[in-house]
Symmetry: C2
Subunit: 387 residues, 2 copies
């Protein structure tokens, strides 16, 4: 462990933890108290547990700015992608067709899952370093009147780009289409008026900006859009209507829930509240991101995205244009220096990614910058504007 | 907390825990050390994590007595039922048909999931207090030559009955059919030679007899039967072949795994080993069950099953034939006395169920018996052979 990490906010938050801070899109570093909330065994039909689930569902509707506006939270076991597939499997009417507005791997994945389930899609594809263009979406809607729903990604984890989900929602609404938003890596850290954006179905995951542990995803769904889908589900487990009905009728899950992950998530929601809710969390992630970008620029790194399109969740940097740079070596050197960055690269560009989310603070990013500097030195990489 | 519980093995195992022991089929009471294994945040692509997953997969094959016999473990996010649906969705060939040997809710569920996926079934149905009859299965196989697979449940949680999975497997094998066993509530506590029983696909869950926390299921699959199913999957998430290929190719999950639940499970497997493996655990559960049954009989309760058909996992007792007995009151009185039993009743009979599994020891069952005695007294229920 480097000296910097030892004195970082992270070090203070998890005394004695030997785990490396995770500068990734998840699973993330979580607080000690979130993890400690898992030191219990509650029955899945226990009153305390059912009350916890009820409170979680209400808090998520509130985070979506949807209280009293006819929205429901449905929790689904499994990872975020299980929630995505559940939405597609539950909410696509027979013969339905999705217009997928795509500028990265997660937009593509939505279309691929729909196609695997035998559901038609039309794809409006944009470069990975460009936002989805609402004008092109409007054109696609005009060209494809048989489309029943529009799907896009809020923060595309492929690059970290923020898509204009409000504008796309207004278009979907104007054309009378259902609207799906994958808010996996943004929900809880980017203010979003879900009813105002005309979102019918939003999906996110326990182990992203709410800072829980992995084990389930959740859908925030307009109740009318939920109730209309009876008989459409293409799966038993991944049926969000049946899941909602079970939770409403008995307070229980149809199938065993990840009780410990839900207890952790409840604690994480309370900690989000204590941090000032979505704006408070957004401010910390912005500070993390700003610390990172300032330091990376000072070393000579360049970002993949225009700053105006860039969220505070994930930042993509071009590989340095230096013959001695090798990403695998770089990754390993950082890992040896106690810093875990995202191991994959952006789809088409020679970039690597660093996450600003999870229980991390600017001092953790100072430590990461120090580790990056040492890694470059070790590789013999010097950059034009190197510090 | 009652005096008895305070001095029980459970109390010793979890110092300071205020949680009620769970005499249920799961989620179960787990050891403190299993839960403490979750006090870490590992990246899902971290070497230590991937090595943990690799070790888990190998240990499960060994528990199935299938080492070196061409079997593979595939872990699936979600509850046990997600693993069941994944098996059906992945392993049923186009036009395939299952013969379902059913004597309870979980056998029925298999058929219901298959039907929901548009897959045909033939059902051989037996009373809930009778084992599946291999003779009737043989007849059904002769009557339905278009069947491609046979499915049954090892320990049917509905009643706790043990089905003759070896005999049924021999029949499936002799008829050239694939063979699925739902070993949800038995795997790890009932010795089973999976290759010897001609099992192609076995499913169990993290939070049953291995004594982990809920969050995933696992399938132990004959590799040849796994590889033949390319192109059959009816889901992206619940595709066991794709999941296996991801784990084999990169050591990683395709979609975010429940890292904490997997760390807990790894610890649970080590504790199973320390207890003497499957025979050791079976002995403790048998001691729990024997303590329970002796005490219940002494109070005048009668078991639903013949002792010869009864496993040591779950025991069903008839409601007392006394006008003052009310199950909801009984359940609540036990709950107030720190004992959580299974809240549901057996499908067709007026019975309640008590689980013998999880991190519980005979003294915990002595405490439960005391609570049951007090509950009967409080309700004014006197039984014929009451102590």
């Amino acid at each position: 462990m480097t000296e910097k990490t030892a004195t970082s906010a992270l070090g203070a938050d998890i005394p004695g933890s030997r785990d490396k801070p995770l500068f990734t899109p998840g699973p993330l570093t979580t607080s000690a108290t979130v993890k400690q909330a898992m030191l219990r065994d509650l029955g899945s039909r226990d009153f305390v547990f059912m009350e916890t689930v009820r409170d979680i569902r209400g808090r998520l509707v509130a985070l979506a700015q949807a209280e009293g506006k006819g929205y429901e939270t449905v929790i689904m076991q499994g990872s975020g992608t299980f929630g995505i597939e559940a939405c597609i499997a539950t909410f696509t009417p027979p013969g339905g067709k999705w217009l997928c507005a795509i500028n990265g791997a997660y937009g593509k994945r939505f279309a691929a899952i729909a196609n695997a389930l035998g559901i038609s899609t039309v794809e409006a594809v944009f470069p990975e370093n460009r936002r989805v263009d609402p004008g092109a979406v409007a054109q696609a809607l005009q060209d494809n009147p048989d489309v029943t729903g529009v799907a896009t990604v809020h923060c595309e984890t492929t690059s970290g780009i923020m898509n204009p989900v409000e504008e796309i929602g207004a278009l979907a609404h104007a054309h009378g289409k259902r609207y799906f938003v994958d808010a996996m890596s943004s929900f809880g850290a980017v203010p979003l008026d879900v009813p105002g954006a005309h979102i019918d179905y939003l999906v996110s995951s326990a182990n992203k900006c709410i800072e829980g542990v992995p084990g389930f995803s959740f859908a925030i769904v307009r109740k009318e859009a939920l109730l209309e889908c009876r008989g459409w589900a293409r799966s038993v487990c991944l049926d969000l209507l049946a899941q909602w009905e079970g939770l409403e009728k008995t307070g229980q899950f149809r199938f065993t829930p990840p009780t410990h992950a839900l207890l952790a998530f409840h604690q994480a929601l309370k900690e989000l509240d204590a941090e000032g809710g979505v704006p408070g969390r957004a401010a910390r992630y912005r500070a993390n991101h700003d610390t990172l970008v300032a330091g990376m620029r000072a070393m000579g790194f360049r970002e993949f995205l225009d700053p105006g399109d860039q969220g505070c969740i994930i930042t993509s940097f071009y590989y340095p244009e230096h013959p001695a740079f090798d990403f695998d070596t770089f990754y390993k050197l950082l890992n040896d220096n106690n810093c875990v960055i995202y191991p994959g690269k952006v789809g088409t560009a020679d970039c690597f990614r660093i996450g600003s989310i999870g229980r991390l603070f600017p001092p953790d990013f100072e430590a990461l910058l120090g580790a990056i500097r040492r890694a470059l030195t070790a590789m013999g990489v010097t950059l034009k504007e190197g510090s």
